[in-house]
């Protein structure tokens, strides 16, 4: 017997040009003791459904239709009074624990207020209950920490506090909206374990909203797949992931990088761009083709970087070593991966290699020249041309005030000032073609493109100087998984055809496995180990690597 019954739920946003249907006639049921995964890409309406259940939709959106039954009660019967079910019957957890708590009240004050809003307890009883809750969600020294302010907790601990607040009035339904997306892998698994444990112990009905198929596979009993506000498919998690019926679900599952093997290409079911199927891309003609000698293109020697900005901030102590004695080599033509959690220093290393930061000490050699010691601008330009970078956030990596053709023309003109207009135009078209964008894209502005398309423009810009080394800093982590698959395919193709050397930086182990020949694992600025990809995944040597591999959500767990 289902506890939560969502019937024909629709949510509309009346926008200036049209009405957007964020959710259309959604029917979902969840039983007690069960975790239902709600999965979909950005804009699919999965969060909308979560918020609509307790009628917490931001203006100008509103629930336009549908009933929601908790047990026998239709809580949408009287939307004015839904406030009495919030917190009491239904608990909600949001994505970012950093911003979910009121910064100027202690967690104790926030817990007691919430408890006393719904339960008839005096201060003493409320406090006892709150402390027990904190213990239950795994906060040590709960009696002392009770009086702490939110900013005194780490991200993972804070999410535990958020969970305790969501559960403090013993709701029977818990809605968790991307509860681990802002957290590192190791913290993520702890929080997911906690949610699983609480589901069992408290016999909760849980809706877990996420974009991560690995999380779905490891955590949920059943899963609902959403796309563009529609419910595509719903069923047992194992059924859906192993035998998807709908085309969309199939493409979603096939786009997820497998964690247990390396595949040569992702199977793309629905493509965002027109495939070009050109085996020989035109920019090859311009490429000053070099024979690949198996030599070291990049050598990093005893690199250190500390950010000592005590002059500007309040803290004068604790100089943090962002990069701590890191050395590695990248052979020409290979893909080298750097993986690590947030704060591991992986992006800092990338920025030193492309010369955005100067290292505190240590040297970086490129093609046998030490580029960290170059003083003259002219000398530096030679290397600027050969080292290019692709960034994480496609929305900030393109200047919104420039047309695509101007964005791509800038590096070309800078390094080849004598280029003729006609030639420049052709070159831009060739570059756009090589990243599978239509030639008419050139006269449009970045905001007219989707995230994946912007990332392609970014790649075209990086290729414009004909670089030998391409540094990719989390190039797909802001993208939906189906788009990610396409971009990764593109990068593989380009590397093959242009003999690019790639430094690939990511927190996402499965992605790194698909992309890289060799991998270095970073933790707190230190390099733990460097191995060939397959060795690293099959026989990790370092304890930290083992732990990371154990904790990463694996979509394959569902097959066992």
């Amino acid at each position: 017997m289902s506890f939560l019954k969502i019937n024909n739920l629709s949510v509309e946003y009346k926008m200036r040009r049209e009405t957007v249907h964020a959710a259309k006639n959604i029917n979902i049921e969840v039983s007690k003791g069960e975790i239902l995964g709600l999965v979909g890409e950005s804009g699919s309406g999965k969060s909308t459904v979560g918020n609509a259940i307790i009628n917490l939709i931001d203006e100008p959106g509103k629930v336009s239709n549908g009933t929601i039954h908790l047990g026998e009660i239709n809580i949408h019967d009287d939307l004015e009074n839904i406030i009495k079910y919030r917190g009491k019957k239904i608990g909600l957890i949001f994505q970012d624990p950093q911003t979910s708590l009121n910064p100027i009240f202690t967690i104790g004050e926030q817990l007691i207020e919430t408890i006393q809003t719904h339960l008839k307890l005096d201060i003493k009883q409320a406090k006892d209950k709150a402390i027990n809750l904190l213990k239950e969600v795994g906060i040590k020294d709960a009696e002392q920490r009770f009086n702490n302010y939110p900013h005194q907790f780490s991200g993972g601990m804070r999410q535990r506090v958020v969970i305790s607040l969501a559960l403090c009035c013993e709701p029977e339904l818990l809605i968790a909206d991307e509860p681990t997306t802002a957290l590192d892998v190791s913290i993520q698994s702890q929080i997911l374990d906690l949610i699983k444990k609480l589901t069992k112990e408290r016999n909760l009905a849980v809706i877990l909203i996420t974009h991560d198929m690995g999380v779905i596979a490891e955590t949920t009993n059943r899963v609902a797949v959403m796309k563009n506000g529609n419910l595509v498919e719903i069923g047992q998690t194992k059924e859906i992931l192993t035998k998807p019926k709908q085309t969309y679900t199939k493409s979603l599952v096939s786009s997820v990088p497998p964690t247990n093997k390396k595949i040569s290409r992702f199977i793309i079911v629905e493509k965002e761009n027109q495939p070009t199927n050109n085996t020989n891309i035109k920019i090859l003609n311009r490429w000053t083709k070099k024979e690949i000698i198996k030599q070291d293109l990049v050598e990093v020697k005893n690199l250190y970087k500390s950010f000592d900005d005590s002059f500007f901030t309040e803290s004068s102590k604790n100089i943090v070593m962002a990069v701590d004695d890191v050395s590695f080599k990248i052979t020409e033509g290979e893909s080298f991966g750097l993986v690590g959690e947030s704060g591991s220093g992986k992006s800092t290393i990338a920025k030193m290699i492309v010369n955005l930061f100067k290292p505190s000490s240590g040297d970086i050699y490129f093609d046998k020249t030490c580029i960290t010691k170059i003083k003259s601008n002219k000398e530096m330009m030679k290397f600027r041309k050969q080292i290019q970078m692709i960034f994480q956030d496609p929305y900030s990596s393109l200047n919104g005030r420039l047309k695509v053709e101007d964005i791509i023309a800038e590096p070309i003109k800078l390094h080849n000032p004598s280029i003729k207009n006609e030639d420049l135009k052709n070159y831009i078209f060739d570059l756009l073609e090589s990243v599978e964008l239509a030639p008419n894209s050139s006269t449009r502005y970045p905001h007219e493109f989707s995230g994946g398309q912007r990332q392609r423009i970014s790649i075209a810009r990086a290729l414009a100087t004909q670089p030998r080394l391409l540094v990719c800093d989390e190039p797909t982590s802001a993208l939906d998984v189906s788009i990610q698959a396409q971009i990764l395919n593109l990068l593989k193709d380009l590397q093959e055809q242009l003999n690019l050397t790639i430094l690939f930086i990511s927190h996402d182990l499965p992605v790194v496995r698909q992309m890289c020949d060799r991998i270095g694992v970073l933790r707190n600025g230190k390099l733990c180990e460097i191995s060939n990809s397959e060795d690293l995944f099959e026989n990790p040597k370092h304890e930290y690597t083992k732990e990371l591999l154990r904790l990463m959500p694996k979509i394959e767990t569902i097959y066992n």
């Binding site: 608990g91 949001f94 911003t99 009121n102 809003t117 607040l165 009035c169 309040e314």
Partner: protein, 327 residues
Amino acid sequence: MIKYFFKRLFQSAVVMLIVAFVSFSLFNFVGDPINNMVGEETSDEERSQLRESLGLNDPVHIQFSRFIVNASKGEFGISYQLRRPVSELITERLPATIELVFISALIALVSGTLLGVYTGINRKGFFSDIILAISLLGVSLPTFVIGILFIYLFAVILGILPSFGRGEVVDLGFWSTGFLTTTGLKAIILPSVTLSLFQMTYIIRLVRAEMMEILQTDYIKFAKARGLSEKSIYYKHALKNGLIPVITIAGINIGTLIAFSIITETVFQWPGMGFLFIQAVQFVDIPIMSAYLFFIAFVFVMINFIVDILYYFIDPRIRVKAEAASG
């Protein structure tokens, strides 16, 4: 805490020193102080004697340190125009300005904050629209126009309030107050309302923006999701966060009011420091100008210092950051 306190104190002192240097340069390098002090008929010998006796031939750093010592004692020399010590002129006029600014600050802060919170919470109400339209008109009305309008309305046409002066004042020895007589109280109504209007509209808009931003935050959304009452969400969770910047505003507000009192005092011929200052500007009376600058900067720096210390007690984030810094 102590480190935080001294750090702020040190920063304040640096700002004061810079302002003191500007005041000092004003005094020394704008025009010739000797020319300004003596008449045309004074002989060159007498002039150089005066120059020597005033220490104007000493090296600049000695003159500057003497200026600092004198300034800290409240001595800024003698007014060129009125031929009286500046310190005496200022103490005479200080009470009038302080009383005016005090009442105005009270009006501006209290009503500005209340209306700002109201319009921030009731974003689309009829009253909110009216308040906002009026507040926009308020920032478009220069203080002197409001003053003229008030005088015309309440003094010329209705004849119920005086158009100039402080009314009768009671001398308490160190302080002369207009608060103790009916005419004094009546006299302060128009100038203080005039002075507060511009600041009030400014505060309304700031507080409203602050409240609206806070109501968009995740922690307010999470509070709603926990089923807390609207009353608690608006008046406890949002308001307490929203009031933190009001402390800063209050600080700036008082300093700005002192500066804008120059205009109000001119319109209402209010015998305060601003009135003194505007006359000084017209007659290039440098000692009064530099003393006034010094005084305003001092008030500002003191207020900022107090605001920083208040923040320490009110905002737990700053408290923890400061404690972490001092180990």
